[in-house]
């Protein structure tokens, strides 16, 4: 168990005990060292005293070589157990006597050394000169077993030390036990209160302050904190209650509003179904439920086509696929999609399918990110109109029945129109391919006629009369003109069929180029004042626009031929939804009553002797502009010039 996790009570105890033990040890250590030094010094002094006494008593014995006396003197050492050996040496340094008698002489120094002490291993030895009246008569040798003394002293000293230590630690323990309570009890009390508070969540409890020390201050701070928590808690609880009440009111309001809106939606007189983008039914109006003989409970949450499958007994049933296609379109375009009247049979609760006709409209419900969030499927049950039921009596009923009959009629006729439209489109396609191939096939015999007429003039021209040659020239000219006519027809036909390559077209540049090319050819010898100004860049097919300007400008050049100078202006102006481009000339003009005829095929207002042409140019212009979703028209007065207009929707326009 690490000290960190020990209870504070034990921690304090351990601290106090450890401190006192360490202090005791240090003190004892110091004291012990001091004692040891003192002890050694004392031992040395003892030995000195002893050796001096013995030496003093040995003088006569040595001086007069009295062994017995010397022995007796040395034997006095018996009183001191620490002296393990002693010896007297005579003046010549010979061993005289030794103590104890049992000691082997060999264990003693052979000859006396100098005076002084010698600590050797556990022995303290000393040579003491034996002096009588300042004259040395011999040497005394003493040997003390200091090991024994030290051991004895050590054991004694250690014993005392241990006893004192035990006593001190014991006292310290008792003291620590009572002293640590001063510190630990308030802290433990505080901890206990904190625990109780966190368990019971009762912040009204307060800790009792014991003193003015740090723990007292801690207690104060703790109490202060508790007060704060209590206040905050109360405030929080009050606010939670307030907020809960507000939420409850808001919730009730929301519920009420929701109920109202639900009620409104469900009570709508129309047949409505709300779907998710994966065609799951979210809501249905009451009218819808009634019309489909279902209940809200069985419908909401189910897939649309799971709830309304095709009638299995009707092999031609295409309600599901049509509806799915329409809904997919709405998802893709995010725009409403109106479906033609559908036969979509409904399964009655008894499982039998009932024949029904519907007129559905599917609309998207967009979310904030402009994506389709829901689909609204609105239908009208038109079964009765389709069946033309006439079972109901009464005047207004008559009217209603009439109306229903008419609507049913409209349904039938719209179906008929659709059919005939399709037939027309097919016929048109056929006609176009027919006319293309016919025109193409016509060109070959015409070239032959022209070619052979030319050959005839070359080879046999001299044999023919002038009149004959004139005929041949007529034949040749007519064939050529018919070739031009066929070419124009081919162009016209191509205009209707060819695919449009949409790209930005700079009309100003295009018109200028065409004017330049006209100046080099048809208008070579003419005086024409051109004015081309502010034409926009538009989105469209370049080749087609080129055709439009070629036709309009060459017309203008052509019909201003009698004027000198001719004035031709190309310009444009903005209308609200379209941009209008015009070509104005001061040419021969036309009667306004023929204005509508101008743009038809082969419609000509002038004789071709007067102004050459095929009568297809303007028809082509109208066709091209129509394909660009624009309009064409013209204004004129005979002799006062003519203005030809065409317009283009503005979203096609593109600023340079």
């Amino acid at each position: 168990m690490s000290l960190r996790n020990t209870p504070i009570r034990r921690k304090l105890m351990v601290m106090l005990l450890l401190t006192s033990a360490v202090v005791m040890l240090l003190m004892r250590g110091t004291f012990f060292t001091y004692e040891y030094v003192t002890f050694r010094r004392e031992t040395v002094r003892q030995l000195t005293t002893l050796s001096e006494i013995i030496a003093a008593n040995s003088t006569a014995a040595l001086a007069f070589a009295n062994e017995q006396d010397a022995r007796e003197t040395l034997s006095a050492l018996r009183a001191n157990h620490d002296v393990v050996a002693a010896a007297l040496y005579d003046q010549e340094g010979h061993l005289f006597v030794h103590y104890p008698d049992t000691l082997a002489e060999t264990s003693l120094p052979k000859a006396p050394g100098d005076g002084g002490f010698n600590f050797d291993h556990s022995r303290l030895t000393k040579f003491q000169p034996v002096v009588q009246r300042g004259r040395r008569v011999g040497m005394l040798y003493l040997e003390l077993d200091t090991g024994k003394i030290t051991r004895e002293w050590l054991f004694g000293s250690l014993g005392i030390a241990l006893a004192v230590m035990a006593l001190v630690v014991g006292v310290a323990y008792l003291l620590a036990r009572s002293l640590q309570r001063q510190v630990s009890v308030p802290i433990l009390d505080l901890a206990e209160i904190a625990r109780a508070i966190s368990e019971r969540k009762d912040y009204s409890v307060r800790a009792t302050k014991v003193g003015n020390d740090e723990i007292g201050r801690l207690t104060e701070a703790f109490n202060l904190m508790l007060g704060e928590i209590e206040t905050l808690n109360r405030d929080l609880e009050r606010r939670v209650v307030e907020r809960t009440n507000q939420l409850a009111v808001a919730n009730a309001d929301l519920k009420r509003e929701r109920a109202i809106f639900e009620n409104i939606f469900e009570s709508l007189p129309g047949l409505f179904l709300v779907l998710t983008p994966d065609f799951r039914i979210v809501a249905a109006s009451n009218a819808y439920l009634t019309a489909t003989m279902t209940t809200r409970e069985t419908l909401v949450g189910r897939g649309l086509f799971e709830a309304f499958p095709d009638n299995p007994s009707d092999g031609d049933a295409d309600g599901v696929s049509n509806l799915r296609a329409s809904l997919d379109r709405v998802l893709k375009t995010a725009a409403p999609d109106t479906m033609p009247i559908q036969k979509y049979d409904i399964r009655r609760p008894d499982g039998v399918f009932e024949e029904r006709y519907w007129s559905p409209v599917n609309s998207p419900l967009l979310g904030v990110d402009r994506r389709v969030e829901y689909l609204i499927h609105r239908v009208e049950d038109v079964t009765d109109f389709v069946h033309q039921r006439t079972s109901m009596p009464g005047d207004s009923e008559q009217l209603r029945i009439k109306m229903e009959q008419m609507q049913a009629e409209i349904f039938h006729s719209s179906q008929r129109v659709q059919e005939s439209n399709q037939q027309l489109r097919a016929a048109n396609d056929e006609l176009e391919s027919f006319s293309y191939s016919v025109s193409h096939d016509l060109r070959a015999p015409l070239r032959h006629i022209d070619g052979f007429a030319g050959l005839l003039v070359k080879s046999d021209g001299s044999q023919l009369s002038d009149k004959g040659r004139g005929y041949l020239r007529h034949i040749s000219d007519s064939a050529k003109q018919m070739g031009v006519l066929i070419d124009d027809l081919l162009v016209f036909s191509r205009m209707g069929r060819s695919e449009m390559k949409m790209a930005p077209v700079n009309l100003q540049q295009l018109a200028s180029e065409i004017v330049q090319s006209l100046q080099r050819q048809e208008a070579r010898d003419r005086a024409i004042e051109w004015k081309i100004d502010g034409l926009p860049t538009v989105q469209g097919d370049f080749a087609m626009f080129r055709q439009v300007f070629v036709n309009l400008l060459s017309n203008a050049v052509k019909y201003t031929r009698p004027k000198n100078p001719a004035q031709i202006e190309v310009g444009c102006f903005d209308e609200e939804k379209e941009v209008v481009i015009f070509v104005r000339d001061n040419g021969v003009g036309f009667e306004m009553q023929y204005a509508q005829k101008l743009f038809g095929v082969f419609q000509r207002l002038h004789r071709s002797e007067e102004f050459e042409g095929t009568g297809i140019g303007l028809a082509n212009v109208r066709r091209i502009i129509t394909r660009h979703s624009g309009r064409t028209w013209a204004e004129s007065m005979p002799g006062a010039g003519a203005t030809f207009y065409f317009s283009l929707p503005k979203n096609r326009e593109q600023n340079p």
Partner: protein, 200 residues
Amino acid sequence: MALLTLLFPGSLFSGAGRRLGFWLATLAVSTLLASKSAAQTEFKEYQLKAVFLFNFAQFVEWPELAFAGEKSPLTIGIIGEDPFDGMLDDVVRGEHAGQRPILVRRFKKIEEMGECQILFIGKSESARLESILASLGSRPLLTVSDVDRAARRGTMIRFITDRKKIRLRINLEATKRVGLVVSSKLLRASEIVTTGRDQP
């Protein structure tokens, strides 16, 4: 040794080798000493007696009037035949008793004796002992003799040769009578007798 050190540098062997050398040296020295000490243990009676005579100067105190002055010499006199054969002269040569130099003088008759502090009465004077002592009167002079029963007969200190050892016998009465103070240490090393009562 060098080889060992080479082979085992700083190893146990270098220490062991050194220790071996030490023991060999010790053996040689102790053999030498043993032969010398054997020669010295030979008993030299008068050599010892000479030393003892000299040593008495250290353990006996003479009254002031025994000397002419403070630094006047301490004289050891020998009456009659000199048995020391110059050994006493060797012993005292250059020695002092306190500040006093020590002299050795010899004389045939007591009348010839001048100032003297220690008088040795040899065996040649055995018959004349009592008369010599009587003629000395109460002079502060330490009488020493190795004549039989000398102490009983009034000599202050007698040398007794006993089994190659020399013991002392002191007549305390005699010393006290002339005012000599004999150190208790000397007394402890001696046998104390009184005049007249004889003991073997």
